[in-house]
Symmetry: C2
Subunit: 454 residues, 2 copies
Amino acid sequence: MEIFERNFEENLAHFTHQLRHDQMTRFRTEFLALHYYDQAKLFKSLEDEDRLKIYQYLSPSELAEIFDMLENEHEEIEGYFEEMANPYAASVLSEMYPDNAVDVLNNISNRERVNLYLHLMPTDSAREISRLMNYLDDTAGSIMTTEYIAVDMDLTLQEAYYYLRQQAIDAETIYYVYVIDEEKHLRGVLSLRELIINEESKKVKDMMNTRVISVQVNDDVEEVAQLVQDYDLLAMPVVGFDSELLGIITVDDILDVVKEEAESDYSGLAAVDVSEVHETPGSAARSRLPWLITLLFLGMGTSTLISRYDALISQASVLSAFVTLITGTAGNAGTQSLAVAVRKITNKTEDTHVVKAFFFELLTGVATGLIVGIAVFLIVVAWQRNIALGGVTAVSMAAAIIVANLAGALIPKLMDKIGFDPAVASGPFITTLSDLTSVFIYFTVAQMFMDYLL
Amino acid sequence: MEIFERNFEENLAHFTHQLRHDQMTRFRTEFLALHYYDQAKLFKSLEDEDRLKIYQYLSPSELAEIFDMLENEHEEIEGYFEEMANPYAASVLSEMYPDNAVDVLNNISNRERVNLYLHLMPTDSAREISRLMNYLDDTAGSIMTTEYIAVDMDLTLQEAYYYLRQQAIDAETIYYVYVIDEEKHLRGVLSLRELIINEESKKVKDMMNTRVISVQVNDDVEEVAQLVQDYDLLAMPVVGFDSELLGIITVDDILDVVKEEAESDYSGLAAVDVSEVHETPGSAARSRLPWLITLLFLGMGTSTLISRYDALISQASVLSAFVTLITGTAGNAGTQSLAVAVRKITNKTEDTHVVKAFFFELLTGVATGLIVGIAVFLIVVAWQRNIALGGVTAVSMAAAIIVANLAGALIPKLMDKIGFDPAVASGPFITTLSDLTSVFIYFTVAQMFMDYLL
């Protein structure tokens, strides 16, 4: 308890001291008593020379426990592996949970190094990992592990329990026991709870739940995540085309999927990748510039359009006062409808037809536009004492909002239909696009009522 | 298997038929064999009259299993409870997991009804639930359950295992066994895995993990969610001020927290609550209008500002062509920096000082502004053949981006410091605010170089 109570910096200094003074026994006793996550946090913060000591002090399987906690920090991990002797690195990888080892290997850019590791590790680990590496990104197969517990349906509960006890050290979760037949087809599931509360002499096949929720190996990870949430599962079995059990996905990996999915939707809406952490303003700027420059060209379209109405503006310069009000408000409305549409698609809360969605958003836009239009009319008339100007502004505003609403709702829906990720249609994209349509609407309406404006 | 294979609509028709033809035995056999989540989906889709039958066919504890799956649909649940006889409703509530029952009761608007239910249920359930209802929203206490397994540290593993088997039916998770002393202080934890793989005769106190990760009852749920993710836990123990064990939070509730948190950040950025599902365009419009109208008034500030530069625009109407380009691009940059800032605060990835954050964003803004400025200069000069106009546009653009960047980064940071949720500072708010500053910068710069512009 003593060490645990100290804060992180003190802990780090304490262990660094032990490493530098060759206190291997004390280091191992104290360090290995920590939770793997705390071990990982300390490991990451060590100086390079001290990390090299760690590779001498800890066995590959002890280090593998730490690396299983670091699974999402691919760049750092790649660096750590380069520091190690190759056979040691291969051992660490083979001791990690296969899904995490696959994750690490898939993120090593040097393919020769990956092959070297696979050659240096035990054949069965290498075969296991190579097989998992074949699954496509974002499919159930890419995040599943093969370290599950499966039993034959003809065992008794007691036999199954003894088998489970033997396997318990290696398995990633022991809390579900999957039941398979001779051809490895998934036939049922027993929770460990059911296994231990029922009569030992009963047969697995009589006690198992045959309505087992499972996913196909090529199913999208987001759909898997939704099912795990809906059914409150701790692990999800993954089967192949013939219902053969291939692996399981555990709830900790599902939490990562949910988090990454949310981060990517959020990044999409803002047109910047919020999951990257930038050390320097230069690298932060680099990550933001591509969208800004792309949208700058779209924005130039709006400028070109406005410049065409030069004569109109010269005659009635009061018109320019309301350009940003209309583009801004329509952009805001478009962002709202975009966010609602993207979320509906992601959540698959409803699978409405494009035509139905069109009319829904049309009516929402009409209702919103009408009310904002009335507000604008009142404000402009009160301020400028010009009913025609109020009318032009109000009608343009309403029309611009309706168009922005429709664009915000339908663009992601169409992108989804043609197989693109709808979250890529960002808020800034919609506002910039809506600037163009809003300006067009505004000046067209203004031109029509020019005689009354002056 | 037969029923399970059919699709949802057929299932619904099948069970509706049984309910209407009083086939209670067949209904119970087939319906109760389904997974609780599927039972819940069917239950929700039944007609009112058929639901009333369900209250006769299913026992309170059978219905409680269904309601435990519906925990997040508060409005519907409130309606269902109103349909039931009060004693039956109270029984259902007392059979639900206490955290879910609390969730339901907290969302019933009629306080007298809540009290009635509490009076009608068994005293110990009522006491348990009332106690949990006292914890504030978004604290660990508000989502914890009291149905955990805790054992005395002096037991042997065998004794602990037998105790666990007895308790297994009621506990929300049996996969962690918490170890407490006579005063109920949390002293350690044993996973069920450790319990079953170790020698039965060993003492709990010798085998338990004393570095148990726990949270205080008043800790923020988002912090709890982060810890569960970091440490890959299936449940988190919740303790009071004196380390006494009060409850546990299970990973399925953590998944809900992560999901709600992501939804609320996303909603904040878009200035619309994406978690609400609207049946009619009118209700969708109502949810979007408050922000639109509020921002309309802020936008009027920009219009007022532009109208002050009426004389300038009359002289050089070409200026109006670039207003939306500058406001649009600065708004996009502001949205990006806002999103990055909000995510940094939510993730607590770094706790940088406001001053440091200021300089970081200042430099990011300068780098971004410089590059976009150069691009704009080249485009405007090539298009309008007017170097002064190119210079004015480029300088204003760069300055507007720098200001928007700073506003986007610092407003959420300041809101967080003074105790507001930074996610409320939405993208539309930043773009509308940035319209004002951008227009001010643009016309000020233009005025300064007026002589060269014409």
